[in-house]
């Protein structure tokens, strides 16, 4: 008697409700450990905020002004944390970061000693906001950006500045570049004071990204000779779109934001990649991720349709094309566009008659529309 015959005779009694029940229990249990993990993170965050508050209280009472943070040292270990300054500016410290705060009348200066952080700075008339890491100094007037130390596979250290909102003027030696939203810039880490990045007041975005403002060719993520002042340049919308380290950086930054739960930040990153590098190999996945965020997190099903269509059009063959097509059906269903939903559903079922999402897709667009 062959094993195949015996196998065929013993099959579990399965149906869709039973599988759905199994998956629901698996998903619930997968969430459970994460909930346990959140407590240490929360505790660390509370401890950090508590320590800072206590420090300020000891120094003369907590104040609503950013000046009250003078002398504070913020340090994170395994998990990141966020603090809100009195003026509404928000600092998100990445893990393994140490940041000291020095304030005086008219100036807030943050010094990153290691790690990195993102900053959402509230514009305040007559107040300057500066962040420094190694030789890089960032002057801020109301924008959202991040500064962090990056170690390349070669071991070389770089300082990376990424802008989500506002405008940046970066300089290193003779090279001067302007960075707009979604653009980033990196230079080899140097302890000497030779590189500066100045954040300009938020201007019209078109001016920020005009071809005339475009800097020299984009810098690749290649090991730079220690101590050399490699020309630094930002990504521009006019830059051709072959696979590049810049697109990779944008993609990874967006992925990190998504993993950290920052849906709008991640969406901005994916959008920037799609705008600047539409032909990059990561563009299709970025469109798919953007569509998922717009549907699941941002409540923008109409925009999700556009992103998912782009993902379907760009992804050739396997990959996530099937998932994107299934999501497209759900997005149409969410907008109530029944005709479009039926078309998308028909397209999915035609292409993937035994697809992973067949059951979910068939349940969309209303019962009467089922084939």
């Amino acid at each position: 008697m062959s094993a195949t015959n015996l196998q065929g005779a013993l099959k579990a009694r399965l149906n869709e409700p039973r599988l759905a029940r199994q998956w629901a229990r698996i998903a619930t249990r997968l969430d459970a450990p994460r909930m346990r993990l959140r407590w240490p993170v929360l505790a660390l965050g509370l401890a950090l905020v508590g320590a800072v508050a206590a420090l300020l209280w000891v120094r003369g009472g907590a104040s609503e002004s950013a000046t009250a943070w003078d002398g504070a040292v913020l340090e994170t270990e395994g998990a990141g944390s966020a603090v809100l300054l009195g003026d509404g500016s928000r600092i998100e410290l990445y893990s393994q970061t140490k940041l000291s705060v020095h304030t005086s009348d008219g100036e807030t200066r943050l010094t990153l000693q290691r790690g990195g952080a993102s900053f959402d700075v509230t514009h305040a008339e007559g107040r300057s906001f500066r962040v420094s890491l190694g030789s890089v100094d960032v002057k801020v007037v109301g924008t959202r950006f991040s500064v962090r130390e990056v170690q390349l596979p070669s071991g070389a250290r770089h300082v990376e500045v990424a802008v989500a909102r506002g405008l940046v003027e970066a300089s290193s030696g003779a090279s001067v570049a302007r960075l707009g939203p979604g653009q980033s810039w990196s230079v080899p880490f140097k302890a000497v004071e030779s590189t500066t990045v100045a954040m300009k007041p938020p201007p019209a975005p078109a001016a920020a990204l005009s071809p005339s403002a475009a800097p020299p060719a984009p810098e690749r993520e290649e090991p730079a000779a220690a101590g050399s002042a490699a020309p630094a340049s930002p990504r521009s919308q006019d830059t051709p779109a072959p696979p590049s380290a810049d697109a990779k950086q944008l993609f990874e930054t967006a992925n990190r934001a998504r993993a950290a739960g920052n849906a709008s930040g991640a969406a901005e990153g994916y959008r920037a990649l799609l705008d600047q590098y539409p032909r990059d190999p990561r563009a299709a996945l970025a469109a798919f991720e953007l569509g998922r965020l717009q549907m699941d997190r941002l409540g923008q099903p109409a925009q999700a349709i556009s992103s998912l269509r782009r993902a379907v059009a760009s992804s050739s063959g396997g990959g996530f094309r099937e998932d994107a097509m299934a999501r497209l059906v759900t997005a149409h269903a969410a907008t109530g566009a029944r005709a479009a939903c039926l078309r998308a559903r028909g397209a999915y079922l035609k292409q993937y008659p035994n697809g992973v999402h067949r059951t979910t897709v068939q349940a969309q667009c209303g019962a009467s529309g089922l084939p």
Binding site: G8, R29, A259, D323
Partner: protein
């Protein structure tokens, strides 16, 4: 543990994202990818668990435990494309543990042995000769220690080689061979009595 995706009965190939792509996304905590992996392999997992346990009431628990164990240790999967085979080994080991615990509880009198009714568990279209073979096999299997039960079922029902069983269970081929010989001897001795 490195596993091979060499068992034709356990390897699944179909349209859509590859297992490797889904595993990479699932590793990043993507729930849709985990669900896609579950959907893709749920049938195979349930059937394997069913043949090892022969108990519909324990089936859901075994399948859920196995998938959770797999998702929580995806980082240890060397070859993401071998997810199916890897999941099988997790199911086999988890089933082995459950059977061992069940047998212990039965011996301690804390659990009543539940007889296997193959007429209920086998598919309706099972040919008479196959049903007879299964009754004979499972009549003996029910009385075997957990480790002998699992190796015998993997050999006789799943059709795995000694080497493949050793890999699935994380034991040496010599150990598997010894258990298999003992199980076969009991099958020869007691098989006619059932």
């Amino acid at each position: 543990m490195v596993v091979r995706a060499s068992q034709p009965a356990l390897t699944v190939s179909r349209a859509g994202p590859s297992d490797a792509a889904l595993v990479l996304s699932a590793r990043a905590g993507e729930r849709w990818a985990q669900e896609a992996l579950f959907r893709r392999h749920a049938m195979m997992a349930n059937n394997l668990a069913h043949r090892l346990l022969l108990s519909d009431s324990d089936l859901d628990d075994l399948v859920q435990d196995s998938f959770i164990a797999a998702f929580e240790s995806l980082d240890r999967l060397v070859d993401p494309q071998a997810f199916a085979s890897w999941l099988c080994s997790i199911i086999v080991r988890t089933a082995h543990k459950r059977l061992r615990r069940k047998r212990l509880l039965e011996r301690l009198g804390l659990l009543r042995p539940s007889p296997v009714d193959l007429d209920v568990l086998a598919t309706r279209s099972t040919p008479p000769d196959v049903a007879t073979e299964l009754r004979k096999l499972y009549a003996v299997v029910q009385r075997l220690p957990a480790e002998e039960r699992v190796v015998l079922l993997l050999r006789r029902v799943e059709g795995l080689t000694v080497g493949e069983i050793a890999e699935q269970l994380g034991r040496s081929p010599a150990t598997v061979k010894r258990r298999l010989e003992r199980a076969h001897a009991k099958l020869e001795r007691d098989g006619g009595k059932s």
